[in-house]
């Protein structure tokens, strides 16, 4: 069955990083033979003024296909790993969402978009967690990390939010020009879209920028591009500024 996992962590300067933990958890699922994981994504949330010096206003998530019998072992493993990694001062939370057990996904999606745009209380989050198919765990501090963790899982569920960790590399030369087909064949990108959300054809050409990020759109690993105003290459990979909406 498909699961969506959200992790939110820390208010500290250094140390425990949810991004690394998400990567470790995806690897554990595969190494232990529990199932197959997708690449973790980073979701931007509203900076909660109550939390104060929170380092990032982001949370992580990933989805995975696991055999039902491994859901509880996975949750136990994830809770143990996060608890053992957090430093004092963290308010770590974990959310695991099982869509096939949910009655109404819209409530979760609506909650997730709200956490992206405004301050949402922990009480509201805990109330939503009463719904079937949603499992929340307060793992350190006051547990407020569950707010972002659940939002991250919900945003991943939309299939239209989040950036993937790391920079995409293709070709050895600076500003390498690739066709869309080459990008799809040689990287994990599944589609290339313009900022107007038009899907590019296989033979169109793209200049690869210095810092190429992949985003989640249409439930696919997506490379966003914008026009160069040249005939060839016609497109260039979108800048970090342009991808803020993700």
């Amino acid at each position: 069955m498909e699961i969506f996992v959200g992790i939110d962590d820390s208010r500290q300067l250094d140390g425990y990083k949810a991004g690394e933990t998400a990567s470790l958890l995806t690897r554990a699922i595969e190494d232990k033979g529990w199932g197959k994981s997708k690449i973790p994504s980073r979701h931007r949330l509203y900076p909660n003024p109550v939390i104060g010096y929170k380092k990032h206003n982001t949370a992580r998530s990933f989805s995975a296909d696991i055999d039902e019998q491994y859901l509880n072992p996975f949750i136990t493993y994830a809770c143990t790993m996060i608890k053992s990694n957090v430093a004092s001062g963290c308010n770590a939370g974990l959310a695991v969402v099982v869509p096939e057990r949910m009655v109404n996904r819209d409530d979760l999606i609506s909650y997730a978009y709200r956490v992206k745009e405004e301050q949402v209380s922990k009480e509201e989050c805990m109330q939503l967690a009463q719904c079937p198919g949603i499992y929340l765990f307060e793992l350190s501090g006051d547990g407020r990390g569950v707010i972002g963790a659940l939002a991250a899982a919900g945003l991943r569920l939309t299939g239209n939010d989040g950036q993937f960790r790391g920079k995409l590399k293709l070709g050895h030369e600076e500003y390498y020009v690739a066709t869309v087909k080459e990008i799809i064949d040689k990287t994990y990108v599944q589609q290339v879209k313009s900022m107007d959300l038009v899907r590019l054809e296989d033979d169109e050409t793209v200049r690869m920028g210095e810092k190429v990020k992949v985003v989640l759109l249409d439930n696919l690993y997506t490379l966003m591009v914008f026009p160069t105003d040249l005939e060839n290459p016609k497109w260039q990979t979108s800048t970090t500024h342009m991808l803020r909406m993700f």
Binding site: R42, K54, K55, T58, T239, T240, H241
Partner: protein
């Protein structure tokens, strides 16, 4: 470009998209240290928006570099 919020915290008055000013300030700052790559939001490598000492606020960010 800064609004003092208390003795340990000052908020950038340029909001979240004044890329030029944030890069200019960071270039002149001896305390700039890059944040985790995944958390960087500016295209300019050296920018307050990409610094490990910035903390996002509702309107902008605060600089927590020890003074």
């Amino acid at each position: 470009m800064w609004l003092a919020k208390n003795k340990d915290e000052r908020e950038f008055t340029g909001g979240k998209t004044d890329w030029e000013a944030a890069a200019r300030i960071a270039e002149q700052c001896s305390g700039f240290e890059p944040d985790d790559e995944d958390e960087q939001t500016a295209d300019e490598a050296v920018s307050c928006y990409n610094c490990r000492y910035r903390r996002w606020t509702v309107k902008s960010f605060s600089c927590l570099l020890p003074t």
